[in-house]
């Protein structure tokens, strides 16, 4: 029963809460959506935490995502042992980077009074969860080889079965508890995204790449406004 809740109920709940929560917060509570950077209060130690943490977690996250999305390609890649080794070593290295970064960030958070002043309970919960997640991840990588392959062959089908709304749980139920904890941890993190600072991941400023540097916003259609015929045409100002 507990298994059923953790591996069927929780994922759906997490997905729904996360989607609705993000859309709601983005549209209605835009003022709360921020990276909440504390670099302005402490800038030196942050470097040794923030940079490894972010780079590491991006690589690890997209690694997991790829294995989930294209399990066959991953298996094909892994069919040659050297390539599997390269993949595992890379993933482990970046996992370690996340751990180091996260440890540095947590150390900084607890020892810098200024950073503590902008720390919420949710930040600590989130950092605790992430820490557990990373430690479990590294443990799994070392203890249950080779994750890159069995994720593709066992877990990816489970996740896809969730997507297809006909959960296939036999494989997950049989997994060792560490891996189960890692999976539950992942769903929990997804669940709490809208209530934490993690939401800043969804507003990563990629549109900056294509945008012209300068932005001028007209509250009125400046040419039409002098023309009595068009002055009432319903054009909403773009900035609110």
């Amino acid at each position: 029963m507990l298994n059923l809740f953790l591996f069927v109920g929780l994922p759906y709940m997490a997905f729904i809460v996360c989607t609705v929560g993000i859309v709601y917060r983005y549209r209605r509570k835009g003022f709360t959506v921020s990276s909440l950077s504390s670099q302005f209060l402490e800038g030196k130690e942050l470097f040794w935490g923030s940079v490894p943490f972010h780079i590491g977690i991006l690589v690890v996250f997209f690694g997991h995502l790829t294995t989930f999305l294209v399990p066959r390609a991953t298996l094909a890649w892994n069919s040659i042992p050297v390539r599997l080794l390269i993949l595992e070593v890379t993933a482990f290295t970046f996992g370690l980077t996340v751990l180091i970064g996260l440890a540095a960030l947590m150390y900084r958070r607890f020892t810098t009074p200024r950073v503590r002043a902008v720390t919420t309970g949710m930040d600590i919960v989130l950092e605790g969860l992430l820490l557990a997640q990373v430690v479990f991840g590294l443990w799994i990588a070392l203890g249950y080889r080779w994750g890159a392959s069995w994720f593709a062959s066992d877990l990816s089908p489970y996740l896809w079965s969730l997507v297809k709304l006909s959960p296939e749980t036999t494989a997950v139920f049989a997994l060792p508890w560490v891996i189960k904890a890692h999976i539950v941890g992942a769903f929990t993190i997804v669940l709490i995204i809208p209530f934490t600072r993690l939401i800043h991941f969804f507003v990563a400023p990629l549109n900056y790449i294509a945008r012209p540097y300068q932005q001028v916003i007209w509250n009125w259609d400046r040419r039409a406004i002098r023309d009595p015929g068009t002055a009432w045409s319903p054009t909403q100002p773009r900035n609110n």
Partner: protein, 517 residues
């Protein structure tokens, strides 16, 4: 020609008394909040001095503004590649200690401490952590400290002065300083806008005010680095950046911004300038020596029929064109060529102009004989034993600009990208106006000398009187010419009035069911 209107400002530095009333007015309205305590959207600095944040003008440290890159320009410390690359940790971001750690005092200790042998004290506590702290810096920490080794001598504008020139500036008995009030310049080529990865910062088309949309800002903090004037601030509590909004709610209602309204020295002027937006790139990418001139070229004559026609075609309201014609800023900047932008070499094309201060320049370092002058004064006034401190003889007034107490180069570093001629031209005009008025009111100057002074600066007595009027006597409505159209259309900047057209009374509280297509 793409004619746009810009609300811009002139600060007359000779009139600033350094009272900080402007800063307080702004603080009371806008930044007296958690996370914003350290922000001074309006601040007043003592020059020479390091300013706020400390040494903000030194872009080797702060990497603000634009720099030349071949024919074009690029942001010095931000931009697409650098901004996104440094997003996890911005190496050029100032930290709160570059400004100061906001503090208050534990006043309750004075009342609530138990009886004891010692006098209770109100210890300073940090407004960030709430812990007791030692105050190391505060707002205007270098106020009036000209000559001080920590502040004045570290002024970034002293860089290309000779050691002799520097020493002369800080010679104890000849020391001088002036005040430099600063707000956001609402630039035409704003570095803050260009650096914002989220696109939260924008320039308002109608009046050129630069704003940060608080719901779109994500706290990537690139604007803090990019603004060379350090006028974009990071609110450490909300995780959003904030900046001077030029009191746009007041401007829309026809009021002057709070700092200007409250200015005790009446040094501030605000009005519309029409400019040609097609020339922004040309001006911003000019060589250092040309950037001031090209920025002046962009500003259009609001009386020119071609300009008026182009403005109308572009949707500039008649009332705005009218305001541009009455604009005190246009007169100071363009007609009389008395004002200059601060640090034009940062290439953001700032739209706040300064009339450079004559006073520290005028007071001569030469030894002169003031005795004839002193004889004319009454007993109390004439006790002035030093002959060299202030040259009060009217004879040599005009000549003193070149061997001034403040090297012209210093002024030029501030206001004209190092070009002393631009500054000298303006100072000579100011001097000529003074001579003219001295002749009118006191009459102890040779009329020929005055005429020569006016002629050499291309002024007529009439213009000199106009300058004098706008400088010294101007009333509120002369100093602030705010386009009238904004008053009745103010609501349209916030919401679309067409939405409620046809509604009765106070309008519908909720939408009705939709009928028809």
């Amino acid at each position: 020609m793409d004619v746009r209107s810009q609300i811009s400002m002139v600060f007359h530095l000779d009139k600033c008394i350094g009272c900080h009333t402007c800063s307080i007015a702004c603080k009371n309205i806008w930044t007296d909040r958690k996370g914003a305590e350290y922000m001074w959207w309006n601040n007043v600095e003592t020059k020479p001095g390091t300013g706020y944040p400390s040494k903000w003008e030194n872009q080797d440290i702060y990497k603000g503004g634009w720099e030349k890159d071949g024919d074009g320009i690029q942001l010095k410390g931000a931009g697409k590649a650098k901004g996104l690359g440094n997003i996890f940790h911005n190496p050029h971001l100032p930290v709160i200690d570059d400004y100061y750690e906001p503090f208050t005092y534990k006043y309750l200790n004075l009342i609530e401490s138990p009886a004891g042998d010692d006098q209770p004290t109100a210890r300073p506590i940090s407004m960030i952590t709430g812990e007791p702290m030692d105050i190391k810096m505060g707002p205007n920490w270098d106020d009036d400290l000209s000559g001080s080794p920590d502040y004045a001598r570290n002024d970034p504008n002293l860089e290309n002065l000779t050691p002799a020139e520097r020493d002369a500036m800080f010679d104890l008995e000849r020391m001088a300083f002036f005040y430099l009030p600063r707000i956001c310049n609402h630039c035409l080529n704003p570095a803050c806008v260009a650096s914002c990865p989220s696109g939260a910062i924008y320039k308002r088309g109608e009046d050129g005010i630069v704003l940060i949309n608080q719901s779109v800002c994500r706290g990537w903090r690139m604007c803090v680095t990019a603004c060379p004037y350090k006028k974009a601030y990071y609110n450490w509590s909300t995780g959003k950046s904030e900046k001077c909004i030029l009191c746009y709610p007041r401007i829309e209602a026809g009021h002057a911004p709070a700092c200007m309204h409250s200015c005790v020295g009446r040094i501030r002027y605000l009005g519309v300038l029409l400019y040609d937006a097609d020339q922004i790139e040309r001006a911003a990418s000019a060589d250092d020596t040309e950037v001031v001139g090209r920025q002046m070229d962009m500003i259009l004559d609001p009386f020119d029929p071609d300009v008026i026609a182009a403005a109308k075609a572009n949707g500039v309201a008649d009332s705005t064109i009218d305001a541009a014609q009455k604009s005190p800023v246009f007169r100071f900047v363009k007609t009389w060529k008395l004002a200059l932008p601060l640090h034009p070499e940062f290439r953001t094309l700032p739209m706040l102009f300064y009339v450079p201060p004559l006073l520290p320049v005028m007071a001569s370092v030469k030894s002169v004989d003031n005795s004839t002058q002193a004889e004319k004064m009454n007993e109390t006034a004439k006790y002035w034993p030093d002959n060299w401190l202030y040259d009060t003889t009217t004879k040599s007034m005009f000549g003193t600009i070149d061997d001034a107490r403040f090297p012209l180069q210093y002024m030029a570093n501030l206001f004209s990208a190092g070009d002393t001629k631009e500054v000298a031209d303006r100072l000579k005009k100011l001097m000529a106006v003074r001579l003219h008025r001295r002749q009118v009111t006191v009459g102890d100057v040779q009329p020929e000398a005055v005429a020569a002074a006016l002629e050499s600066t291309d002024l007529t007595p009439q213009t000199a009187d106009d300058i004098y009027y706008l400088t010294s006597l101007a009333k509120f409505d002369d100093r602030f010419v705010i386009p009238a159209a904004h008053r009745e259309q103010a609501i349209e900047l916030m919401e679309f009035a067409g939405d409620v057209k046809g509604n009765t009374g106070f309008g519908f509280k909720a939408g009705t069911a939709k009928r028809g297509p």
